[in-house]
Amino acid sequence: MKLKPEDLNKIRERMKSTSRLREAEGKAKINVHLGTCGIASGAREILHTFLELVEASGADDVLVTTSGCAGLCKREPMATIEIAGQAPVKYVDLTPEKVKKVFEEHIKGGTVVKEYALAVGSERLG
């Protein structure tokens, strides 16, 4: 499809539901940071563990996605977990075991796993 300028806004509208998690309640988004630094420290395994857990739990309202380096390369692998309507939480130094706990307690249970969490919120833009 070749876009016209007005089509950009249509894509923005269509993407809002997935990028902002606002429409459907109870949705969660798992964003694994898959830059070179993340991959080198095992982020693919983290991604696969999340995918397996989502599949095993049968949850159809949890979105797993990826993005680039989150900046703090030293603390990779990192993932950002966002429950609809709440501020995103960044987890650092993840291992498959930690992922299991985060999935059970934060994504399913709604309680942030404080000992693995670095911070809540997002970065300062522009």
Partner: protein, 613 residues
């Protein structure tokens, strides 16, 4: 904030604006007027709040009520309930869970709090492999704006007014560079320099993205391409329109497989959407981009060498003028900018030159991305406003030096940069101040060194790098760096002589002045700055045959302190040449004849009994 009953702070950061913060603000003003509250309530736009994921955001002062995820539709009810009837609307509020030891907010963590993201604004937020996510956060809006509402001259004017300067190192004003290329006459002569006969059409102009990030320890450009490839493409598209270019090249390091993969994917997706190719966005503008892989030659970061490499020739710099803007790729006018420069362009178009030039210092506007590495706690990728001090970067963002060691120097600009000592840590980061300190902004490598680093060794390492990477075309660089390296090797092996320091200084000055390209012009910087700030270390090596940091092998000896040695045998067991002897629970001794000074005994000793001298 005046004598208003309420001040409404509406976030106008990029994140909130792309989620329609301006519409929310307009709706607020309209409703407030409708209820005749404009004398009591003021609506103010603010900079980014940090909670971008929940934008648009509004803070109500003085009560500090925090509304999030606002839409135009929410506003009439909100104004009526809260500002007219005095009942804050709970369902629109964000209330963090009450907790004695809450998890810190991103903005409370100095590593993130002191950063300001423009070029990296989508990092960690979008899936770089999905163009729709880029568009969802306002991507390609700047392109649509320039193609439908701006003339090329207006675009160049905007970039000039913004004060954007090249992020590849030299800091040349980007708008000026674009203007030279736009105004350059296209040569009709097929024998023009650089034209090899299979000539493109006479009207062609080219743009190039330099993604051949060669500095050891630098990964800014790689990260931008990996996490937000479309920002680079959009910047290039806008530049091509402004300059009148018909084709673009991205010259990227072959050693960046992931960046290359995501870039290739982004190009395909952009083509599919008609954002590259013929009649982009249904307008008369046509442009495409091809990717060319570098083969690991440092000199290809220099623009004329890079162009040579693109043309299939030896990557050697050539004399300028003519500049690439007059005669570049295939002898045609060519504009070349680095990844970070291009990635800044869409933001300037979207938010305006005034916004961009409000960030930074008098002469250096906007932000700069650095890769922070070396002896620092928080290694990573940081984007900071120009004018921030080195101290803030190393100690606040970087979290200081590991293992309680003392800071010694920070090297900016990679092998072409200089070492900045503790006394200059409060230097603001901008192009001019760094040059004054003997270094350069460079592309953004930042290597932190502690007391365990020998500055002679640091200079030797960087000169050995530039010496190996020297293309050999001009004598000052080819011969000069080789001789400098020889002298530095002699000094670090204890064979330094009186007069060596002065000779290095003299050669450094000559090479800087006479070398053909940026590689040679900057190669002496690490030597000259280490001599300038750490001359005593050079003198100790030459006169006392001593390496104060305990690094240069020829000048150090390892010995065991009988006071501390417990005879645990750890050193003897780990010594690779078995030169340590001693009975269990007895003091051990190192045989200096056989010792290879590998430092293993020093690392494994738990009792601080191994001495380095």
């Amino acid at each position: 904030m005046g004598n208003y009953r309420f001040n409404l702070l509406v976030c106008a950061g990029t994140g909130c604006v792309s989620n329609n913060a301006f519409k929310v603000k307009a709706a607020l003003e309209k409703e407030i007027e409708k209820h005749k509250l404009q004398e009591e309530i003021q609506v103010i736009s603010t900079g980014c709040n940090g909670f971008c994921a929940n934008g648009p955001i509004m803070v109500v002062k003085p009560d500090d009520i925090f509304y999030q995820l606002l839409t135009e539709e929410d506003i009439p009810g909100l104004v009526e309930e809260h500002f007219l009837k005095g009942r804050p609307v709970e369902k629109l509020m964000y209330t963090p869970a009450k907790d004695e030891h809450p998890i810190p907010k991103m903005s409370d963590i100095p590593f993130f709090g002191k950063q300001q993201l423009i070029a990296l604004s989508n990092r960690g937020l979008i899936d770089p492999e999905n163009i729709d996510e880029y568009i969802a956060l306002g991507g390609y809006q700047a392109l649509a704006k320039v193609l439908t509402k701006m003339t090329p001259e207006q675009v160049i004017e905007e970039i000039q007014t913004a004060g954007l300067r090249g992020r590849g190192g030299a800091g040349f004003p980007t708008g000026k560079k674009w203007e030279f290329c736009r105004n350059a006459l296209v040569s009709e002569d097929s024998s023009a320099p650089g034209n090899n006969g299979n000539s493109p059409s006479a009207a062609d102009k080219y743009i190039i993205c330099n993604a051949d990030e060669g500095d050891p320890g630098a990964f800014m450009d790689r990260s931008i391409v990996e996490s937000d490839p479309h920002a680079l493409l959009e910047g290039m598209l806008i530049g091509a329109y402004a300059i009148g270019a018909t084709h673009g090249f991205i010259y990227i390091r072959g050693e960046y497989p992931l960046a290359l993969e995501r870039l290739t994917q982004a190009l395909e997706q952009a083509r599919e959407y008609g954002l590259l190719g013929d009649e982009i966005l249904g307008t008369g503008f046509s442009f495409d981009i091809s990717v060319s892989k570098g083969a690991g030659a440092f000199v290809c970061g220099e623009e004329t060498s890079l162009i040579g490499s693109l043309e299939g020739k030896l990557p050697e710099p050539r004399v300028r003028p003519p500049y690439p803007a007059q005669s570049g790729y295939m002898g045609k006018p060519t504009n070349i900018n680095n990844v970070e420069t291009w990635a800044n362009v869409p933001h300037i178009i979207n938010r305006g030159a005034a916004w961009f030039s409000s960030i930074g210092t008098e002469t250096s506007k906007g932000t700069k991305v650095f890769s922070l590495v070396g002896k620092v706690n928080n290694t990573g990728l940081v984007e900071v406003p120009m004018g921030i001090t080195m101290r803030e970067i190393v100690f606040d963002i970087g979290g200081g030096i590991p293992d309680g060691k003392k800071f010694k120097a920070v090297q900016t600009g990679g092998p072409s940069g200089g070492c900045i000592p503790e006394s200059l840590l409060d230097t603001p980061v901008d192009y001019e101040s760094l040059v004054q300190a003997g270094s350069i902004m460079g592309s953004g490598g930042m290597i932190v060194m502690d007391e365990g680093n020998c500055m002679v060794e640091v200079a030797r390492y960087f000169v050995s790098f530039t010496q190996q990477e020297s293309c050999g075309k001009c004598t000052p660089c080819r011969e000069g760096t080789w001789h400098m390296l020889n002298i530095l090797e002699n000094i670090s092996q204890g064979k330094g002589q009186e007069g060596d320091i002065e000779l290095l200084e003299k050669m450094g000055r000559y090479i800087k002045e006479t070398a053909l390209c940026g590689l040679g012009n900057t190669a002496p910087n690490p030597v000259l700055t280490t001599i300038r700030y750490f001359r005593n270390e050079y003198e100790a090596h030459i006169r006392e045959k001593r390496c104060p940091a305990g690094v240069c092998k020829a000048l150090i000896t390892y010995s065991i302190d009988p006071e501390n040695c417990t005879g645990c045998t750890a050193c003897a067991k780990n010594c690779p040449v078995a030169c340590i002897s001693g009975e269990r629970k007895q003091t051990h001794v190192i045989n200096q004849e056989k010792c290879i000074k590998c430092g293993m005994c020093y690392s494994v000793c738990n009792f601080d009994a191994v001495r380095v001298r």
